[in-house]
Structure formats: C-alpha cells, structure tokens
Amino acid sequence: TMGLLDISFLSDLKRMNKRQVFYQFLSFGMIVSSALMIWKGLIVATGSESPVVVVLSGSMEPGFYRGDLLFLTNDLEDPIRAGDIAVFRIKGRDIPIVHRVLQVHERDDGYVKFLTKGDNNAIDDRGLYAPGQLWLEKGDVIGRAKGFVPYIGMVTIVMNDYPKFKYAVLGLLGIFVLLNREA
C-alpha cells in the first residue's frame, strides 16, 4: 500500500499546472492566516497581548494546576482588587506568572501598585520581582484570568520541553496541507 500511496501523491502533484501549485501554497497560507487573524482578533477583543496562557507551575494549586489553559482579559478600566488572579511579566523576563493579588495601594491620581503571591507558595512574590522592585504596576499585567480549561495546556508544555517534537508535528502538518490536493 505504501507503493500505491507514493505513486498517487506524485501523480496528483505532477499533473498540476503553475496556478494549481500556487493555490496549494495559498491554501497553506490561508490556514496559517486564519489562525493568525483569530489570535490577533482575540488580542484586540480582550485587550491583552496574550489572551491565552498556560499555567507552568504548581504555585496556584489547588485552584490551577500545571498544564491548565487560562483565558485572560485586560480591561484597564476595571480596577485591580485583592483576590484577583493576575497574569504578569517581570521586566526583563518573558515567562508570564499567574498569581493572586494580595495587597493594593491606590493614589488619588490613579496610580496603582500591588503585591502578589501564589496560593501554594509560602511567601509573597517580592523574591521574584526585579532587584529593588517591591511592587507591581498596571503596566506589568498581561491580563486577569476570566476562565480556564484544565489539562489541555500540557500539549504546549510538552512541545516546549521537546522542541524537536514541536517542529516535527508542525512540519508534518505543513507537508500534509501542501501535498493534499483538493478536488
């Protein structure tokens, strides 16, 4: 059967003219573009630069476990309150952290600073902040969790731990789309 598949692949593709070959690449482009546009659309709709994040550590157990997928919104008008689950980045590092807001200080001019701590951690996050930093500000926040789906994020964690696996999967998907000729 492998022999038959080889031949059928080649024969279908050999018979394509320039336009049909171009269309194969365009179809691939359309699929990638659709995913891209949905992602950018989510960014605009939620106001968050990363509307979907994966929980990477167990610091928020038993609420969130490693591998959970979180959906974020970043409404800048909505005031940050103690108890909110905020996803933030420390300046100079790219890994987002998902922890709970512990203390909030607000000034009359609208300036807000707050302290966070993981539910499952013994101490607050000051040890994680940049040297000399004691508080987080609104600008550090990527968003606040509005919903979640358990376990699914494990796929992302595995793909990032084994990048070769990620490239293999993406590569195979890409090849399949490019070589699959629609009627």
Binding site: S8, K14, Y23, L26, G29, S33, L36, M37, K40, A183
Partner: protein, 188 residues
C-alpha cells in the same frame, strides 16, 4: 507537463484522486482534441482574492511587530475585519461563481472577428460515492445562448482494478458528450 503520456494511476479508493484524475483527463481532451484555448480567468479571480487575504494577514503581522499592541490596535481591527470579510467573499465566489467548474475553454472564431464561444466543464463526485457527474456547457460567443448536457457515470467505468485510468474509454465518453452539444448547435 504533458510530456508524460503515461497512463494516470491513482489510489482507486481515494475519492479526491479519482475526481482530480478524471478532471485532468477531461481538460487534456478538450485542449488537445478540439484545439480549445484554456481561459484562466475564473481561477485567477480566486487566486487574487486569496492572495489579498493572505497579504492582509501578513501586513497585520508586520505592523504589529513594528508597533506592538496596543499601538497597533486600529490597524489590527481593520486587518482582521478585512480578512474575515474576504474569506466570506471567497466562499461565495467558490460556491456561486466557480461552482465545480474546473475548465473553461475558448473556441476562437476562425475569421477572428466574432467573440469566442465558450466551453465550460463542471464535475462533482460526492465523498465515498462512485457517481461522477460531468457537465459540459456551451455558450455561444455571438448568440450568448447556453446549452448544456450532463452525464452521470460510475467511476468504475473508467478505472481498472489497479486504479489506472482507461484514457481511451473516458476520451470516448467526453468526446461523445461534447459532440452531442455541437450537433445540437448545428441543428439549431
């Protein structure tokens, strides 16, 4: 592309491959046996629409890279909206304008004065089905009238046990269909 006159051989259980093989063979017959000139306007329309859609998304990607969100918010909204409107347009285009048309051939007027007559081929083959429907439509260049004929055959009539296309059998069927339209034309 047509250097190989080797017989087309495909996986006989693959519906897509069956339809593609029959369509490609029909195109070849129309081009070679009747000297029609293939018109790519329909396909080019589709290619143009898809290219614009992909450019839209690439532009959004580039703009967002150069001016990170939230500075790029307006541009992103415009690009995303344009992209999805375009995908809607493309779907409509595929459904109504193309509608299964895989070949448009022009019959040039011998004197070179009158507009070309148009021969259009459409086909359909449902998933997991064996009934291949071929429809030939003739549009007079001068008269602007259309006449069409269609025939439903089982793919088993043209493919052998190994999945090789029996070109001669298929050629006879396609030619028969087209000639019946031409005969009609002359009679009227």
């Amino acid at each position: 592309m047509s250097q190989e006159n080797a017989p087309i051989k495909i996986d006989k259980w693959d519906g897509n491959a069956l339809k593609n093989a029959l369509d490609d063979a029909a195109k070849k017959i129309m081009n070679e046996s009747y000297g029609l000139v293939e018109s790519f306007k329909l396909i080019d329309g589709r290619l143009a629409l898809c290219s614009i859609a992909v450019s839209c998304s690439l532009f959004a990607l580039l703009w967002d890279f150069l001016y990170p969100f939230p500075a790029s918010k307006t541009v992103l909204i415009i690009c995303v909206a344009c992209y999805f409107i375009l995908t809607g347009v493309i779907s409509v285009y595929l459904l109504y304008f193309e509608g299964g048309v895989f070949y448009v051939g022009l019959e040039k007027d011998k004197a070179g004065i009158d507009p070309d007559d148009k021969w259009t081929l459409q086909s359909s083959l449902k998933k997991y089905d064996d009934q291949y429907c071929l429809k030939i439509t003739y549009t007079g260049g001068v008269s602007k009238q259309t006449r069409s004929v269609e025939r439903v055959c089982s793919v088993t009539e043209f493919f052998d046990e190994e999945g090789t296309l029996c070109y001669d059998l298929y050629e006879a069927t396609v030619k028969g269909l087209k000639d019946s339209l031409s005969a009609d034309k002359k009679a009227k």
